[in-house]
Every structure is written in C-alpha cells, then in structure tokens.
C-alpha cells in the first residue's frame, strides 16, 4: 500500500469524524429547539380536544374556547383551552392543547350548563383581524393596551342576541378598566365594545 493510499484513507477518516461531530451537534441542538412551541389558531386544536371529549362522554359538546397562553398579533397562541359539556354526566371537562397534544385534561369544578357553540365559527385570527380593521387605529392610540384574552362562547356577553356564538376580546389598559370587544363568530362583524 503506498503513501497516497494512506493519505486518502486518513482524509476519509477525518471527513467521517467531522460528519459524526456535526450529527452529534444536530442531535444535541434538537431538544433545545423543541422548547419553542408552535403557535396555532384556535380551530387547529379543536378536533383533537373533541376526540378526547367524546371518549370521556359520547354526548360532549364544545361550549367554550380560551387562549391558555398569550395571543400573538395574528390571533395565534401556543396553547388553547377547550371546554366541553356533557348533559348526561352534567359535568364539564377542559382540554389544553399544545403542539398537537393534550397537555392537561381536567373536570371543571363548577356547574356550567353552557349551550353548544354554533358550527362554522370563525377562527381566532379572523376575529382579531375584524377588531383590528374596525378599531385598530383607536387601539393603537391607547398607550399600554394589550390583548390579554380571547374567548369564544355563546350567551353571556351578547345582550341583544344571546343565541349567537361570539368571540370576546379583552384588552387590558394600564390603570383603566379592561376593554371588551365582541365579534360575531358567524359573520365576523364587530358587534359592540365596552369597558368593564
């Protein structure tokens, strides 16, 4: 075996070593990247939660949705909560979804016979976009305003037409009452806003 062959083999060995180190670094970096959770709109998690709910109670219906982590500018959050009610069990059970998995499931320790949400409700992004379109300039002028909560339900906040499923966006303003904005979840129109 000549010297050139030895050199070629050493070169290939060095390349393999470098490739091995690179692969190890990628594997080490993977868990760090996994800490960053994916942002998603409310609708994306509902089917998984619904499947869990019907395993819990066959007659379970979705009655409430709320962001479990802060909402971003596009109406997404890394974790959403879905509440289901079972008329037969007379109980409600909540599922919190993150990264396509249910990370928490718990029974709600209160009676909550809420009506089922209407089918075809607009997603959180569309609801936020409707508010931005209607009142974006006003909100931009309010110092320190921050969207803290988006919740979807049917009944309590809709004085005129309580049967409509609606998104309620709650903005906190420093040293002022919170600002509530109600968006019809079927036609996507802003219905009203109030301080409370």
């Amino acid at each position: 075996m000549n010297r050139a062959t030895h050199a070629a083999r050493r070169g290939r060995g060095t390349l393999r070593l470098a490739a091995g180190i690179a692969a190890s670094l990628v594997l080490l970096a993977a868990p760090l990247a996994a800490k960053d959770h994916a942002v998603f709109a409310a609708r994306s998690g509902v089917e998984l939660a619904r499947e869990a709910a019907v395993a819990w109670a066959a007659d379970a219906v979705l009655v409430y949705v709320e962001n479990d982590e802060p909402v971003d500018g596009a109406g997404g959050a890394v974790r959403w909560g879905y509440l289901f009610h079972s008329p037969s069990l007379e109980k409600s059970r909540a599922y919190s979804v993150r990264d396509g998995r249910i990370v928490t499931a718990e029974n709600l320790e209160m009676r909550f016979e809420a009506p089922a949400l209407a089918d075809g409700w607009i997603d959180s992004g569309a609801a936020l976009a409707a508010v931005e379109k209607e009142a974006g300039k006003t909100l931009a002028k309010t110092p320190g305003v921050r969207l803290s909560t988006m919740l979807l339900m049917r009944g309590p906040f809709q004085d005129g037409d309580p049967d409509r499923t609606a998104w309620t966006l709650i903005y906190t303003v420093p040293e002022q009452p919170a600002l509530f904005v109600l968006v019809d979840a079927v036609d996507g129109k802003v219905r009203r806003s109030w301080r409370g």
Binding site: A55, R79, R93
Partner: protein, 278 residues
C-alpha cells in the same frame, strides 16, 4: 392424456396459489406487533400541570349570573327531520347484489356438479368460463367489503384494550379494577372459569373502551386473599390517536405487593387488512 391450454393454465394457477399460500404463512408471524415494557409504579407519577381556561375560572360567578339571565324562548320554526345518510341506503342495494351473486355461484356449482366427465374441449371451455365468472364475483365481493371497511374500520377512534394473563403462585386474585383519570372505573370480578383459564395460559379481556388521546396514568387495583386493603399501582400510557392500544398485564409475578408486582407490556394494534384483502 393430452395437455391443453386449460391444463397449462390450471397448473400455473395451482402453482401460483401454493406460492402465495407459502408466502402468506410466514407473514402471519411477521405481523405480530412489537410490544414494549411499561413500568408499573407504586406511586402515582407526577406530571406538570398547566392552567387552563383561566378567565372562566376567575370570573365563574359573573359568567354563571349571566347564564342565569338567559331564558329559553319558543321559536316559530319547525324541527325538520335530518336526511338519512345515503351510504346506509346503499347498503341494502349491496346486500341485494350479494344475494344475487350467491345465486349465481349456486347455479354455477350445480352445473359443475353435473359435469361428471370432462369429455371434450368444449366442456373444458365452459368450466373455464365459469371460473372466470367466479373471479368476477369474488372481485365484486371484495369491492363491497372495501366499501364497508372504509365506512367503519376507517373511523377508528382512540381506544384501549386491557388484557390479563398469567396466574400468581402465591395469591388468589378475586377482582381487577382499572380507573381512568376522568374518574371512570371498571371492575372485573373473576369467575372460577376465568381463573382456571388464566392458570392454563389463557388471556382475559378486562377493558375495551374509548380513551382520551393523551398521556395519562391508569390506576390498577387487585383484590384477593393476600391484601386486606388493596394498594393501587399506576401504568402511564400515551394512547395513539385513532388507534387501538393494547395493555397486557402479567399476573404471574403478583405476591404481597399486589398490583405493583405485575409486569406490563403495551403495543398498538395494526387494524389494517393485509394487502389483497382490501
């Protein structure tokens, strides 16, 4: 005897059949699902808890008061009946087709019985035609089975099956209880026949039901002659969404420690049909 094209075709068909049968035999063994050990723990495993539906919990009294203000109002609209799923209407047609095909098969079988002696090439040709007809009927039946499979097995929900095997040498088990995190419990009281079956190497189904597709701890409790106050044990599983997860409990190692002495294995059931059957 003179070899005709039919004979050649028949020999080739039989050879192919034998080859397929030989290939299928080891495949049965190859499809045994791979199972993994799961830990049976004496203490309920702690999992990170995340707060959910915070606003609702913090404002429960307000929300409930608002709900109380809502009253049902009668509406003028009449309640129309929902339309029937057209697939269910198709099933009766499929059943009629099955019965018609069965008649065709019966007629062909009767005709074949009458052929006691295949004396001429013409008769062999008739038999060949009948075989072709049966092939077509089988293909039609396979298509119908495919429709049923898509309609029913295609909608598998997340499910768990818990089975037990083995029998402890140092204890008698009277009942086994499985509790889910949502609070539902299933207790199976063992009969003498079931105990005898487990002693003889049988497998007993304890639970088969829908479960939430998420990581969760299942509480297992054994009642029997060795435990005055049965201590529970926990098995953590993450049932795969839309699949059937199996949990097999081995009772043979159970002694003074009760349920925590069991060993357990889990696997996911492969509900797909082998190729060729679909």
């Amino acid at each position: 005897m003179r070899l005709t094209s039919f004979h050649v075709r028949a020999i080739a068909f039989l050879t192919l059949g034998a080859a397929l049968a030989a290939a299928a035999a080891p495949r049965v063994h190859a499809q045994v699902p791979a199972s993994t050990d799961v830990k049976v723990e004496r203490i309920k495993p702690e999992r990170e808890k995340y707060e959910t539906v915070r606003f609702l919990k913090q404002n429960r009294d307000f929300v409930r008061r608002r709900f109380d203000l809502l009253r049902e109002k009668p509406v003028g609209a009449s309640g129309d009946a929902g339309s029937i799923d057209p697939r269910y209407l198709e099933y009766s047609k499929m059943l009629a087709a099955v019965l018609a095909d069965r008649d065709s098969v019966t007629r062909a079988a009767e005709a074949r019985d009458r052929l006691t002696l295949l004396a001429s090439i013409t008769e062999l040709g008739q038999l060949e035609t009948q075989l072709d007809q049966m092939d077509r009927l089988l293909a039609a039946q396979r298509g119908r089975l495919g429709v049923l499979q898509n309609d029913f097995t295609g909608r598998q929900q997340t499910a768990l099956v818990v089975v037990a095997s083995g029998w402890p040498a140092e204890a008698t088990v009277d009942s086994i209880t499985i509790a889910l995190e949502d609070g539902s419990r299933t207790t199976v009281t063992l009969t003498d026949a079931q105990r005898a079956s487990l002693r003889d190497g049988g497998v007993l189904q304890l639970f088969h039901g829908f479960v939430e597709p998420r990581q969760q701890a299942f509480e297992l409790t054994l009642a029997g002659n060795r435990w005055a106050a049965p201590a529970p044990a926990w098995v953590t599983l993450d049932p795969a969404r839309d699949r059937i997860t199996f949990l097999k409990l081995d009772l043979s190692s159970v002694a003074q420690g009760g349920a925590a002495d069991m060993s357990a294995r889990t696997w996911i059931h492969d509900e797909s049909l082998p190729p060729g059957d679909s």
